[in-house]
């Protein structure tokens, strides 16, 4: 606890390019970018695979294999091969981390939309895309958002690893503290990441209220 107070009470930690606000912004920047890219890949693929049923086995197996990719190894490898300078080295591993939960949940949600519901929608004259976007996706929304939330939390927590290869973000406090044996910095950084991850979870719970129809929510809960 003392470590944490030391860290937070130190005014040097609150300003300048190495201050907490700057680090939080960096952290959010590449976490957000990674999540966005992952969503751009995983949402369409998950919807398409879930709706058509084609390529389901391949999609789920490769998503599971992607979970196995060690983020630290990827970060190090990408920096070694392409050099630092951009955020790309950390983006690639983080996207790989975020794609599986979004893809699998989107796929499961869309696939799980009640067959009677789809039958009624088609029977009333909806086209394929209309059935997908007006019926299946709204019904799958709770699962899709859960996948996004899991991905976001993992990305925020894992983005700390980027600091190992000299990138910014809250991981800096942890890695630097580790190297200089300054545990107040390490503990402070860890707590900040956890708080940030919890805030992200909270944001998704709020999004859930906005994006999920009360009709679907009432049915589930």
């Amino acid at each position: 606890m003392n470590f944490l107070l030391d860290f937070l009470a130190n005014p040097e930690n609150w300003s300048g390019p190495y201050g907490i606000p700057q680090r939080v912004l960096e952290h959010l920047e590449f976490s957000g970018l990674a999540l966005l890219l992952a969503a751009l890949i995983a949402l369409p693929v998950g919807m398409l695979v879930g709706y058509t049923g084609r390529g389901a086995v391949i999609a789920v197996v490769s998503a599971n294999a992607a979970r196995a990719l060690p983020t630290l190894g990827l970060v190090v490898l990408v920096v070694l091969l392409f050099g630092v300078g951009t955020t790309a080295p950390v983006l690639i591993p983080l996207v790989a981390l975020a794609v599986p939960p979004i893809l699998v949940n989107t796929y499961e949600g869309v696939r799980g939309a009640d067959a009677d519901l789809q039958d009624a929608a088609v029977g009333m004259g909806m086209t394929g895309p209309q059935v997908l976007f007006r019926v299946c996706v709204p019904v799958a929304m709770p699962l899709i958002l859960l996948g996004m939330r899991t991905a976001a939390v993992q990305v925020v927590a894992t983005a700390t690893v980027a600091a190992f290869v000299g990138l910014g973000g809250l991981g800096r406090f942890i890695i630097d503290g580790l190297q200089t044996r300054d545990f107040s910095s390490t503990v402070g950084g860890a707590v900040l990441v956890a708080v940030l991850a919890l805030a992200v979870q909270g944001a998704f719970v709020a999004a859930q209220r906005l994006l999920v129809s009360p009709g679907v929510r009432g049915q589930v809960g």
Binding site: A121, G123, M124, G125, M126, R134, P138, G215, V216, G218
Partner: protein, 359 residues
């Protein structure tokens, strides 16, 4: 008119769901497809709006081959109701009903007004419009399903076992409601069920399907019951086919006798001269009070003093089945025909009721 011309549906693997079906579904009537599971009745229905395409043959809707129409366009002009209603859980009731108007890009307010109008038409409280489907009972959901199918005022309505999932009391009220709606709207309705009673109650025409997708018989309900085409149809109709037939004939046509009606002020001596074992005693307004056994009349006095046995009556609009029920319930074996004001107009015996059926 919907016309099936040599329609066959064969699935990969060789299963034949529908075999060489020729059938006409007339406009403005309810045609019921009935049969056991696996007889192809649902497949036949779903080929009309191209949820399934036939392997061979064609289906004409008012002379147009449905295969030539873009499926979504075709379906927007055909109402479709399924067993579990298939309401969209994420949309309010009013938006569920307005689904097809929205697809057809109607003006928002017009679509909404139409939806409210339909909720009322199918007997739902307009206050339910803002609810979500999970907040409604099964029967209410099914009514919404019917309203949704009617929203764009399609001339044709396809109903696939729409009332199978609700309890018998709700089912009866939904059936009555459908008949009431149909008497107003005169839609061309194709109705699939496995329940022969439902088929007889609702159908203007009934198409009985056999397992393997063969059509066994197409007829009006009375003809079907009186004259089943083969053993399959006879068996499917069940053992009490004769009794069921009675429910299709109104009692208005039966011949009544009135020589056993007697006013309560009549003297018993005069009554004993009547050639009848039982006499129906009427009050001064001609309403029946009960049956008196001729052999047990008091020695003297008027009929008002005779011991009476309860009577069972039927109205002129009741079915023959109702009249027979009254006759069977009475120890006299006689049912009393009543007019709209409850006055006795005559009586009929079990024997005459059944005899009239074959006359």
């Amino acid at each position: 008119m919907i016309t099936f011309e040599g329609v066959t549906k064969r699935y990969a693997g060789g299963t034949v769901a529908v075999a060489d079906l020729d059938l006409e579904v007339p406009n403005g009537e309810i045609t019921v497809f009935v049969g056991p599971s696996g007889c192809g009745k649902t497949t036949s229905l779903r080929m009309i709006n191209r949820m399934i395409d036939p392997t061979e043959g064609r289906i004409l809707l008012n002379g147009v081959d449905v295969a030539t129409v873009d499926p979504p366009t075709l379906r927007r002009g055909i109402g479709y109701v399924i067993q579990q209603a298939g309401l969209f859980p994420h949309r309010k009731i009013v938006d569920n009903v307005a689904t097809v108007p929205h697809l057809l890009r109607w003006d928002k307010r017009k679509a909404r007004e139409r939806a409210m109008e339909l909720l009322e038409l199918v007997g739902l409280d307009p206050g339910l419009a803002g609810r979500y489907p999970f907040q409604l009972s099964g029967g209410q959901q099914q009514r919404v399903g019917v309203a949704r199918a009617l929203a764009a005022d399609p001339p044709v309505l396809l109903m696939d076992e729409p009332f199978s999932a609700v309890d018998p009391i709700v089912r009866t009220s939904l059936q009555d409601e459908l008949l009431r709606l149909q008497s107003e709207l005169r839609k061309t309705i194709v109705f699939v069920t496995h329940d022969i009673d439902e088929a007889i109650k609702l159908g203007d025409r009934i198409a009985v399907f056999k397992v393997g997708g063969h059509l066994a018989q197409v007829a009006g309900p009375a003809t079907l019951l009186a004259d089943p085409a083969d053993d399959f149809v006879r068996e499917f109709l069940g053992r009490d086919r004769g009794i069921r037939r009675l429910s299709l004939v109104t009692a208005g046509e039966v011949r009544l006798r009135d020589d056993n009606l007697i006013a309560e002020r009549t003297d018993v001596v005069e009554a004993r001269d009547r050639d009848a074992p039982w006499l129906l005693v009427l009050d001064k307004d001609s309403r029946p009070r009960g049956w008196a056994r001729t052999s047990e009349l008091p020695a003297a006095g008027t009929m008002a003093e005779a011991a009476l046995t309860p009577y069972h009556g039927f109205g002129r609009d009741d079915s023959l089945r109702g009249a027979l029920d009254a006759a069977v319930l009475s120890v006299t074996g006689l049912a009393v025909a009543l007019d709209g004001d409850g006055r006795a107009v005559g009586t009929v015996s079990r024997e005459d009721l059944l005899g009239g059926l074959h006359g």
